[in-house]
Symmetry: none
Amino acid sequence: MSPRKKEDNEQIRTQRQQQIELTALELFALHGYHRTSISEIAKACDISKGLMYNYFDSKEALLESVLLFVMTDAADDIFNELVQKSKTLSPKKLLRHGIELFFTAMQVQAKFWKLSISLSMQVADMPRIHSVMTGIFQKYFVELEALLKAGKVENPAIRARLIAAQLDGIALHYIVLGDDYNLQAVKKMLLNDIEKLSNSDT
Amino acid sequence: MSPRKKEDNEQIRTQRQQQIELTALELFALHGYHRTSISEIAKACDISKGLMYNYFDSKEALLESVLLFVMTDAADDIFNELVQKSKTLSPKKLLRHGIELFFTAMQVQAKFWKLSISLSMQVADMPRIHSVMTGIFQKYFVELEALLKAGKVENPAIRARLIAAQLDGIALHYIVLGDDYNLQAVKKMLLNDIEKLSNSDT
Amino acid sequence: MSPRKKEDNEQIRTQRQQQIELTALELFALHGYHRTSISEIAKACDISKGLMYNYFDSKEALLESVLLFVMTDAADDIFNELVQKSKTLSPKKLLRHGIELFFTAMQVQAKFWKLSISLSMQVADMPRIHSVMTGIFQKYFVELEALLKAGKVENPAIRARLIAAQLDGIALHYIVLGDDYNLQAVKKMLLNDIEKLSNSDT
Amino acid sequence: MSPRKKEDNEQIRTQRQQQIELTALELFALHGYHRTSISEIAKACDISKGLMYNYFDSKEALLESVLLFVMTDAADDIFNELVQKSKTLSPKKLLRHGIELFFTAMQVQAKFWKLSISLSMQVADMPRIHSVMTGIFQKYFVELEALLKAGKVENPAIRARLIAAQLDGIALHYIVLGDDYNLQAVKKMLLNDIEKLSNSDT
DNA sequence: AATGAATGAGGCTTCATTCAT
DNA sequence: TATGAATGAAGCCTCATTCAT
């Protein structure tokens, strides 16, 4: 009945959607959400403006999609790898490894952090986006807390928040200051701190 | 023609300018830079749109001015108070006091943080703003470093960056999560950590 | 290749076309011609947008078709019923019956009236639609005139126009004011007037 | 203080507003509300699109303004003249005169009628416009009712609705059919009917 | 016959900025 | 110094229509 086969269409849709999301992530992260126009994204995707609305109901819906995409596909990577390793590594080493992953991701997936942080400041007017953002942070806390609990760290809930804040703060400074920021030295000291933390608990 | 003396005029000018900056800060922080129009600011100041351009060349120039104002007048408050106290308090107590000031400021001057952080993400396109922002952070690091050096903390330069990151990370989470974030518990643990840090140095 | 016989195909085509017209009438009347999109109609018909153009060359052609359909199939109902009754009823009773039919139709087929009237105002730009509309009115006059002539009413041509105007005016007010309009009282008085009219002619 | 004097500005505003409203009335009536774009109106006024929004918050607000303007400035003319004459004419002659005024207005102010009628069909989605429209009709009924009551016509409330419907129906047909509609003959018969109506009440 | 991805023109609206006064 | 009318570019979004399959 259908001319272009159904699977073909579905594939086209999926590909296009991902293409738009990736491009939007790129541009949102680079210039910020408000400075990036639908036109720009469409042009970067080499499609018409109108087609954007075949895939996303509005600019805000696109943003939401990008955030969810990034959260599930990108942020999860760290935790997934940790989950894999968790079978072989001790909690202590796992935490250390997790932090190292964070530093790598921060540099590699700078886009994600930049977008997340910049958005997190201006989402009061966008309730759906705000709830996605808080979801990201809360999940982050919870997973870290589980890791710390496994490592028998004292007061893991609050400690998780402190470590998360530490990491996000570093990311923030790194994003703003770029290579002027001595990331390696900071990382080294942080790992050293964490080491002591675990020691003091054993 | 001009019964008002020159000095009066200059004073009025300065006051107006500050009024505009304060209003802009308020609105930029509340709704974001892009969502705040010159019209809104003018209306909130009870002056005409045209007059705005008598004081600031452009919206971006106003933003720059706001940031500078905020950096010199607002952010300095913490350090100034610390400088005052530095004559009577030990470095250890001074650091503790500084952190407590930070937490107070974070809650009281949330506007400033929100604006600063959100802007700091999107300034690649605004070089002047970017350089103001990096200036803010660098100054922040340097002053903290001096404090730590006085307290004989090891490796004060990097430690200063870590503490600053810790604080900014907490601010970031607090801004995003609001009262869902257990600020008091975090603060308590952080102070405890700092305490140990200083202890290990004595 | 085609196991379906030709006649079946034609039947399907005709059914589809009517289905589209009916759906379009519904939606045009509900939201207005301009606020109803081809997409909406297609979705309501559970067919694709593309297929719409297999049946109608353009949105305007669809409108024209809808109007013609409505004129021939819907408006005629009143007259057809009258024609049926005309064999048994006296002209006087026939007129009375016709008016009662009109009131019923106005309430039951409000869609038709709403669409017809609203379109009739804006057809200067749509000559084909305009000619369809004028055709509807002229036919209406002529049939009413015949009825009046049979009833020996004086000056039936102009009287037909007056009665038609009376009815359309009532419909207009009823459509705008809805149930705030005292339709029953108006109907009663109108029938009474008509009664007198016929009386004065006997 | 003010550069261009306040009165000047007010005058400019008033003139522009009226100019826009008049132009909009013209175009809305000619092509319908939905087919008339803000762009077109602006162009016809020889001003920028942007300026339109200095005077009206939205296209719908402009429409509302046009309707109110037309209702108070145009529709009132008939009643005002009647009020003037009411001191010298008998109610019977007054009604006759009113109807003659209506016919004149219908031809002279065709725009108003066309707009009103065409809008009245499609305002279900625009509550503010709908309430303006119903207000127009209700006022119309009430004033006519008062006139009839003064003329001691039986059941003036319903009779007012019937006459109003009669007039609006004639207007409707005249608008659609234009000069094919025998307006003079219809008018003559209508006046004759009204004459009888009053007679039968004396 | 049928689909729906894709286009592109056009619609409404906002807003930084200019300028006559 | 001060106003606010005016501009024009740009933004988001809708939709009739086309076309490859």
